[in-house]
Amino acid sequence: MAENTILTNLPIGREARVTAVKGEGRVTRRLMEMGVIPGVAVQVVKMAPFGDPIEVRLRGYSLAMRRTEADAIEVSF
């Protein structure tokens, strides 16, 4: 049974797939160009001190982003 949540709430180490990337504007576009598009497999690796930013693994590399960015990414696992 697939569970849906946002990337910020994805438990560390759990693999999931992106279902939607919300938002318009430069940041969203940049996120997608870095490979965060619906269908891609992602995983949260860790969080920095104070919980922000977080490190995300996708397409074989590590991307650091803030919680605000991660909030806009919907995933399913």
């Binding site: 693999e15 318009e24 430069r26 940041v27 576009r29 940049r30 996120l31 997608m32 160009e33 870095m34 490979g35 598009i37 619906p38 269908g39 891609v40 497999a41 995983q43 690796v45 860790k46 969080m47 920095a48 001190p49 104070f50 922000d52 930013p53 490190e55 693994r57 397409r59 074989g60 590399y61 590590s62 991307l63 650091a64 982003m65 803030r66 605000t68 960015e69």
Partner: protein
């Protein structure tokens, strides 16, 4: 054909993601015969070099590292303009070499997809194959090439292996038109402005699936293990501080022996000149002006080398990105961009390239905020000043028994700069440069062993530049300062005071024909008069007029403080005195009323001043360029000078109140 219709050299553009090995490849293809300049109208760095393609020489342009040609930041704009042939002064490339990192295939190929759409023939240079294979994956290069409809050549960026094949393939594709290997599916779901992005990645996923075996999720295993410690929620920051302490401590201890040797060497040269040359003004200029001034700065060469060694090691290994990750929360609290981290770190070497590096920051206000605070990152020119002060008054002391006081104070000075920078950024972002909080999107490249050859090449280049600066700018300033301290010569006093000129005795250092002892001469010289004029202003900071002269001179270049002190304490030296080390001279220096000119508190005050003051004309120049107005650089000079005075004042007076006077 360039824009004038002339048939010129073949132009090849080298493009790719950051961290893909592009610059290393560029270096090995052009053999370091690069030319670095700026693009007209902007301060984006323009790097070109000659690349031999089977007899003919092509012009290879190293484009800035980018993730996408849908430009968002300044350097991406430039790169895409260049590829389209719309960048003034640059010929449209006849071909593009796309550097693709095999360990990061999908994201790297995204950029390549965009290149196809520009209609310029592409050859893919696939780097890091060895790393990729070590991680137990395999790439079928032929399949990749067939699916992408473009040649793919495996290269080793460091050793240059594969470059002949690369050159051959580039020759093949010249004057051909690339085929876009996929179609935009107009009717796909989620089409719209982002439809292209999806099409590209969907295609890429297919291609990668067909050409790569054993795509493994655990590809970053070792880096992850290291990161678990280094970016730990709590210990990560502690480790960061510890690493910095160790770096400073090492710089101190390893540098002290070579520095001693250099100093003794210059002292010996100076004594030699005095002994062998006939007494006279030229001898004075050589010994007290040139050797003292230039030598005073050159002794710090070992320090500078070690500083750059560590900066390179930290950068190359990938640790810097982790540090940015750790500190981002702190930086974003003051509205600083995560991308500001790298420019700020570069500023620890020199603010100029650091300020240039801010062009990757998209928002103008964020960029300006970063530019304004970059000079607070204590640059390498401040190092001689810190070292002299610490060496003279805080040497040999230890905190907790094993951490040297020197390292702690160094760290404190650097930390002071950082703290002030954060505060200033916070203020700026809340007032003049208010903008929405910036996003943070940064790749964390896997750790790698620093390329020692690059590191040492870097150090060597820095050393040469340092020496060149010493031999030109510092030399000129030393001569001028010496002249200001030497002239006008006072001779009237002899008649008044009745002092007899000393008679030269064979074997002794012959005396000058001037009647006044040198220490008195100094007071009546141009420099001396100037120093006395400003003395009231700097007295509340604990400085005497000689220090004042040095302070003024250091606004031309920070290291000049050391040169000036060296000259002042030499020029003001009386006959028969042997040349001392600068540290000894500083300790012995006296004010006009015979009290010590320097105390540990004064030394600390001076350091604080240097942390906060704007003393670099080149920085002012580049801020003027980057902000395109005079108001920002003038503002910077103004508030930093005021801050420096205030900081020094508080340090000195506060220290006296606490009894450290």
């Amino acid at each position: 054909m360039d824009t004038n219709g002339h048939n010129s050299q073949i132009t090849i553009a080298l493009a790719g993601n950051p961290n893909a090995g592009k610059t290393t490849l560029f270096n090995s293809l052009t053999g370091l015969k690069q030319k670095v300049a700026n693009y007209p109208g902007v301060t984006v760095e323009r790097k070109e070099g000659p690349w031999t393609l089977n007899g003919k020489t092509a012009n290879l342009i190293d484009l800035p590292g980018l993730y996408s040609l849908d430009a968002t930041s300044l350097d991406e704009h430039i790169a895409s303009d260049i590829i389209r042939g719309e960048q003034a002064g640059v010929q449209k490339p006849d071909a593009i070499v796309a550097v693709v990192d095999a360990t990061n295939l999908e994201r790297n190929l995204y950029l390549v997809m965009q290149m196809f759409e520009f209609g310029v023939p592409v050859v893919i240079a696939l780097t890091m194959i060895d790393v990729f294979e070590k991680q137990k994956h395999e790439i079928d290069i032929e399949m990749l090439s067939a699916r992408l409809k473009t040649p793919v050549v495996a290269v080793n960026a460091k050793s240059g292996r594969g470059r002949n094949q690369l050159a051959a393939k580039v020759q093949e594709v010249l004057h051909t038109t690339p085929v876009v290997p996929y179609e935009f599916n107009e009717n796909a779901e989620n089409a719209g402005p982002n439809g292209k992005i999806f099409s590209r990645y969907n295609f890429i996923s297919e291609v990668v699936q067909d050409s790569v075996w054993h795509s493994d999720q655990k590809s970053h295993r070792l880096s992850d293990k290291i990161d678990r410690v280094l970016t730990h929620k709590f210990f990560g920051l502690v480790i960061l501080v510890a690493i910095l302490l160790v770096v400073f401590q090492t710089i101190f201890s390893w540098a002290s022996l070579p520095m001693d040797l250099l100093e003794k060497g210059f002292g010996a040269i100076s004594d030699f000149v005095r002994a062998e040359m006939p007494p006279g003004i030229l001898t004075d200029l050589l010994a007290d002006g040139i050797i003292a001034g230039v030598g005073g700065v050159v002794v710090f060469l070992p320090q500078i080398l070690l500083l750059f060694l560590f900066i390179s090691l930290l950068e190359d290994s990938g640790y810097m990105a982790r540090a940015a990750f750790l500190l981002d929360k702190l930086m974003s609290r003051v509205g600083l961009h995560g991308k500001a981290f790298l420019p700020l770190i570069s500023s620890f070497a020199c603010a100029i390239p650091g300020i240039m590096a801010t062009r990757t920051i998209e928002s103008r206000r964020d960029r300006f905020a970063t530019i304004m605070i970059a000079p607070f990152m204590s640059c390498s020119a401040r190092l001689p000043v810190y070292t002299l002060m610490i060496g003279a008054f805080f040497g040999g002391q230890y905190v907790f028994g094993f951490i040297s006081m020197g390292a702690v104070l160094m760290l404190a000075m650097y930390a002071l700069g950082i703290i002030v920078a954060i505060v200033v950024a916070g203020i700026l972002k809340r007032t003049v440069l208010k903008a929405p909080p910036p996003p943070f999107l940064m790749e964390l490249p896997p750790y790698r062993l620093p390329n020692l050859r690059t590191v040492f090449q870097n150090m060597f280049t820095r050393a040469l530049l340092f020496l060149k600066r010493a031999g030109t700018v510092i030399l000129a300033i030393s001569i001028i300062l010496w002249a200001l301290m030497y002239f006008p010569r006072s001779s009237q006093q002899s008649a008044v005071s009745g002092q007899q000129p000393e008679v030269s005795v064979a074997g002794n250092i012959p005396s000058e024909s001037t009647p006044l002892p040198e220490s008195e001469q100094l007071k009546h010289s141009f420099a001396g008069k100037l120093g006395h004029v400003i003395e009231p202003v700097i007295q509340p900071l604990g400085f005497d007029w000689k220090i004042g002269v040095a302070l003024i001179a250091s606004f031309a270049a920070r290291e000049v403080l050391v040169s000036t002190l060296s000259i002042i304490y030499n020029v003001g030296k009386d006959e028969g005195a042997e040349s001392q080390t600068l540290i000894a001279a500083v300790r012995d220096a006296k004010t006009d009323d015979g009290k010590p000119a320097w105390t540990p508190l004064t030394a600390l005050t001076l350091m604080v001043f240097f942390v906060l003051a704007m003393q670099c004309m080149s920085t002012v120049a580049i801020v003027r360029r980057e902000t395109n107005s005079w108001s920002w650089p003038l503002f910077m000079i103004g508030y930093m000078t005021a801050l420096a005075y205030l900081g020094a004042f508080l340090t000195y007076q506060g220290g006296k109140l606490l009894g450290f006077g």
